[in-house]
Symmetry: C3
Subunit: 137 residues, 3 copies
């Protein structure tokens, strides 16, 4: 059965979950692919630069231009001005990742970190489904 | 061999294909990953909020700002003003999805639906390739 | 072990790598999924229209609007005006692809080509990790 981990977010922003994911997959060892799936339509799972926090600040700036909160054109605002923005941010930034594994380690590039990106203003509990796939022989 | 399903679209807009995909994968049962691949560069496969049709209306509004039809800057317009817009919309919204499966059921979140998003103005036939992958043991 | 190929880029622009990927997967034959993973946060792997080079010119135009070089709002510019733009372009356009395979051939649509999209202004060496996954029986 695919594995499930839960992450609490304090509202909009980034949480580095690289270690949580690595810990969850280490036990099985071997080679293949690790698939991460967020069961939500208003938060993202992304890979991005893991060194400079300013990169994440600028990602926020840029995605806000594409999906502003409270845009007068929105018809959907059931849960507030960040509701529809969050759905479009999720569409742009994605909700899933697949990462190659060798000997139980994620084969990330030097500067790649796995981040949960909360798009809603308020805190949420977010579920990530982790599926490990074997390599073809 | 990966499985193929075809969907007819009436032109630009969203078609909920969650049931078609679920039906196509139920037979095999078991756990793993279901991969959906659209063999086109001017339509998308996305996960988004499945309850409010206004969310899809607003997704249209927002993606139209990023990729307007008939933009004067376009060099590529062989098939009309929606041609190049459709290619960029596909780049932004994606053409593939991977969804975890348990006991033959898609492990979607409560509010996640699978949608085929036609980006071209006119009707098209769209092919989705479905590949089921086993979980590592 | 997942396979690795390296591609040299001459700076910003597109390189068609469809043949390199096809060559790398042919040997194993059979059916399943081919996963391509770029180990970088400032370049993309995309599928797009393979016939008209004008499509790629227009993709450049459109993504430049969303992620301009040297925007005054950027806080991150350690490596020049294209640095932060490249990170956001990667977020929008993606860094990974999964392509169904049958009998050792990529099941691409007629107009789909696999492109490495260099987002940085200067030449780089880019690593693609290729993982082949078996289909469920």
């Amino acid at each position: 059965m695919p594995k499930m981990i839960e992450i609490s977010t304090p509202g909009r922003g980034f949480i580095n979950v690289t270690r949580e994911v690595q810990d969850a997959v280490r036990a099985l060892g071997g080679s293949g692919l690790c698939h991460l799936f967020l069961q939500h339509t208003s938060a993202s799972l992304i890979l991005t630069e893991n060194a400079s926090p300013e990169v994440r600040t600028d990602l926020e700036t840029l995605i806000t231009r594409a999906a502003p909160d409270g845009d007068p054109a929105y018809r959907h605002d059931d849960e507030g001005p960040d509701d529809m923005a969050a759905h479009f941010r999720t569409l742009l930034a994605g909700h899933e990742l697949s990462i190659p594994m060798a000997e139980g380690h994620l084969m990330l590039g030097t500067w790649q970190g796995v981040f949960l990106w909360e798009h809603r203003a308020h805190p949420h509990r977010r579920r990530i489904v982790i599926t490990q796939l074997p390599e073809r022989q």
